[in-house]
């Protein structure tokens, strides 16, 4: 997961794209250390544990759980990984370009 996400963020750094981690490892200090050690540059929501507010509200039952939203905020894909995640994002970015024309 992480190597793919690192390259994904790098590849799309100039695109209208954001990866947000909703992290359940612990407090901000603990997560910051992980981010530094693992070379993670993208934003995190600090949930403290798997029972944090966001995973609780969104009824998350397994980790990782992934949602892909388009530019209008609509959920378009769930639990896509690696190549499938790339394809999903590229499709949505292409849609945005198409809409601008």
């Amino acid at each position: 997961m992480l190597p793919h996400e690192r390259s994904l963020v790098k590849r799309l750094q100039s695109q209208p794209f954001a990866l947000i981690g909703i992290n359940s490892d612990g407090d901000a200090d603990k997560v910051k250390k992980i981010l530094k050690d693992q070379d993670i540059t993208w934003r995190q929501s600090i949930e403290g544990s798997t029972r944090g507010p966001w995973p609780t509200k969104w009824n998350v039952k397994s980790w990782p759980t992934i949602y892909v939203l388009d530019a209008q905020g609509v959920i378009r894909y769930k639990n896509v990984r690696e190549k499938a995640m790339d394809e999903a994002i590229d499709t949505l970015l292409a849609e945005m370009k198409g809409a601008k024309k």
Partner: protein
């Protein structure tokens, strides 16, 4: 009694002695033979020992292919056979209920469809009021992932129809609700709301095995159903990032967003 009294004294004494001896023999025989619960505990203890020993050996093995082969012949099924024998011997008792639960659990772990189904059917037919079947709904629901939901659904329906025990009924409804939710058949998926609403209405105050009440469990799933399906726009959410800065999901409108619920653990 009259014959006994009329017997000569020594004969009466001999009879009493014989009766006494018989009592002792029976008493001893009963002591020497373990009772069914002890038998159950003994099988359980041997199984746990075998599994612990196996895990140690598995961890010590470095070669992945050998590990795989070891795992495929892991201990388990031989104990299912022992539990089944005990269940048959003690038919109708609580020990039988516990034994059939073990047969179901082990058969499930080893993907033995017939063994699993027959154990569950016996539990429903003969042990529907036993407190030992509390974990049965979750066990059946969990098997949906390997056997297929269409195979386990009738078992849950039958359990729900026959049990008068609230935790079992609630557990069965919860599993049926989740099966409906993950179904790709529209007519089945459409039943999801009704199942969760029933769970909340009839069993809301009851706590699941994980300690959460069914009302809040149902609310979580209904939120997911109403707001987190493909094609829906989830309500805004405010979070705090690693630098203590607040942000909202809606800050990211105009961008393609991947939300990754994760942990490094």
């Amino acid at each position: 009694m009259s014959t006994l009294v009329s017997l000569p004294c020594f004969a009466r004494w001999a009879l009493c002695a014989a009766a006494l001896a018989l009592t002792f023999t029976l008493g001893f025989a009963e002591d020497a033979k373990p009772d069914p619960q002890q038998k159950f505990d003994a099988i359980q203890a041997r199984m746990e020992k075998a599994q612990t020993d196996f895990m140690e050996k598995l961890m010590a093995e470095q070669d992945r292919a050998k590990q795989r082969a070891m795992y495929d012949s892991r201990p388990g099924l031989e104990f299912a056979a022992e539990f089944k024998t005990l269940a048959v011997e003690t038919k109708g008792t609580e020990v039988a209920a516990q034994s059939w639960m073990k047969v179901a659990e082990i058969s499930g772990e080893f993907d033995q469809e017939e063994g699993f189904k027959s154990a569950v059917e016996t539990l429903i037919a003969e042990h529907i009021t036993s407190p030992h079947i509390a974990a049965l709904p979750a066990m059946i629901g969990g098997m949906g992932w390997t056997l297929g939901d269409d195979k386990v659904e009738p078992l849950l329906q039958s359990l729900l129809a026959k049990s008068a025990h609230k935790p079992v009924q609630a557990g069965a409804i919860f599993e049926l609700a989740q099966i409906a939710m993950r179904s790709d058949k529209p007519e089945k998926k459409a039943q999801t709301r009704a199942w969760f609403e029933r769970l909340s209405k009839e069993f809301g105050d009851l706590k699941s095995a994980y300690g959460k009440d069914y009302k809040s469990i149902a609310a979580g799933f209904l939120f997911e159903l109403d707001h987190l399906q493909i094609g829906q726009i989830p309500p805004d959410f405010e979070a705090i990032d690693e630098n203590g800065v607040k942000f909202k999901l809606s800050d990211y409108r105009g961008k393609v967003v991947v939300l990754d619920f994760w942990g490094f653990w």
